[in-house]
Subunit: 191 residues, 2 copies
DNA sequence: GTCTATACATCGATAGAC
DNA sequence: GTCTATCGATGTATAGAC
């Protein structure tokens, strides 16, 4: 792995753990095993390096979600697979957490990958919900885009609840509740 | 307002805007119009002042939520009132945002008010959902605690979506989706 | 490309005058 | 109680040697 790559990877880890405001160049360099010079040679500064890290994290998240959402199964099953997919719940979402970072939100360039990723996810889920409606799996009255927003919000908020309580249980409960509300009509299934 | 109060209020504002890591004593003092000496006279240090601020914010949030949840109306209507209550969506939740703060999560004393508030909210909502089940407004198969977690998560995650996109629209969409899923059986209502 | 040295501001806290 | 002065450490960035 190149020095530039190690810098980006270290930054990704630290952004996830401590956010943008809580991540210093010094900490990045220590973790990457590099000196000041390397960082300022490859990147213009902290925001530039963070942008590279955020873009990579966003892309990775998109690929992971696509892997599940484009998989086999009925619309409900694919949504369930997305919601139940294994997660390091207490670490939170490496993309969503950035929305609580004032310096990220204030910088359109840093915010863009975050926005685009969550937006992509919502649109992808909205299509799946619409498919489920066509197949009669979901009630015709549901709005795909709204349900998609609810699904993504439940996940993002589930991280908040889990981190507050120090346990993944609340995340799982939120997912369970959402799935029980989404469950295909008239089949009472074990959730 | 006493100096101590002004310090707490300034801290509350800054914690909301910038989080714990992003809030410096200096910024607090400037906003409060006080000097270093005042702060360290009234509080042991930054964590101590933050604790006072977080406790006050948590209490205020609880009171606000209770005002809606204990109000009039059917269980569904009270949940709807809670979800649709006016919010400064783009500012996010002053309590929930703290869960993304590594120094808050690492400190049990600072985390406690956050945990207790969200936990209280979930329990309160769980009772309301159970009431709705008894009254036949919600399907008997629903689990109060899970649905409560979904409701709180949708709100917390709604803030994430809104802040990512720079618009409250996604928050509203998530709420709309959740309400459409919760809507009392067989009455198709305008949502 | 990478390193060390240096710069200057800010961080969180303490000391001590008033 | 509040103020200013000061402290050592860290934050972000630049300079310049190798």
């Amino acid at each position: 792995m190149s020095t530039s790559d190690r810098l980006i990877e270290s930054t990704r880890e630290l952004l996830w753990e401590r956010g943008y405001v809580g991540t210093s160049p010094k900490a990045i360099l220590e973790r990457a095993g590099a000196g000041q010079g390397s960082m300022y040679h490859h990147f213009k500064g902290k925001p530039d390096l963070a942008l590279a890290a955020i873009r990579r994290t966003a892309e990775e998240m998109r690929a992971t979600a696509a892997g599940v959402l484009d998989g086999p199964g009925t619309p409900y099953e694919r949504i369930e697979a997305y919601l139940r997919r294994e997660r390091d719940v207490l670490r939170g979402c490496p993309v969503g957490r950035l929305t609580m970072d004032p310096d990220v939100i204030a910088n359109d360039e840093l915010r863009a990958p975050v926005d685009e990723t969550l937006d992509w996810l919502r649109e992808r889920l909205a299509v799946i919900v619409e498919e489920g409606k066509e197949q009669g799996q979901f009630a015709a009255g549901l709005d795909g885009e709204s349900i998609a927003a609810t699904i993504v919000a439940t996940v993002q908020g589930g991280y908040v609840l889990a981190r507050a309580s120090g346990s993944p249980a609340a995340f799982d409960a939120g997912v369970r509740g959402l799935l029980s509300l989404l469950a295909p009509r008239q089949s009472t299934r074990a959730l």
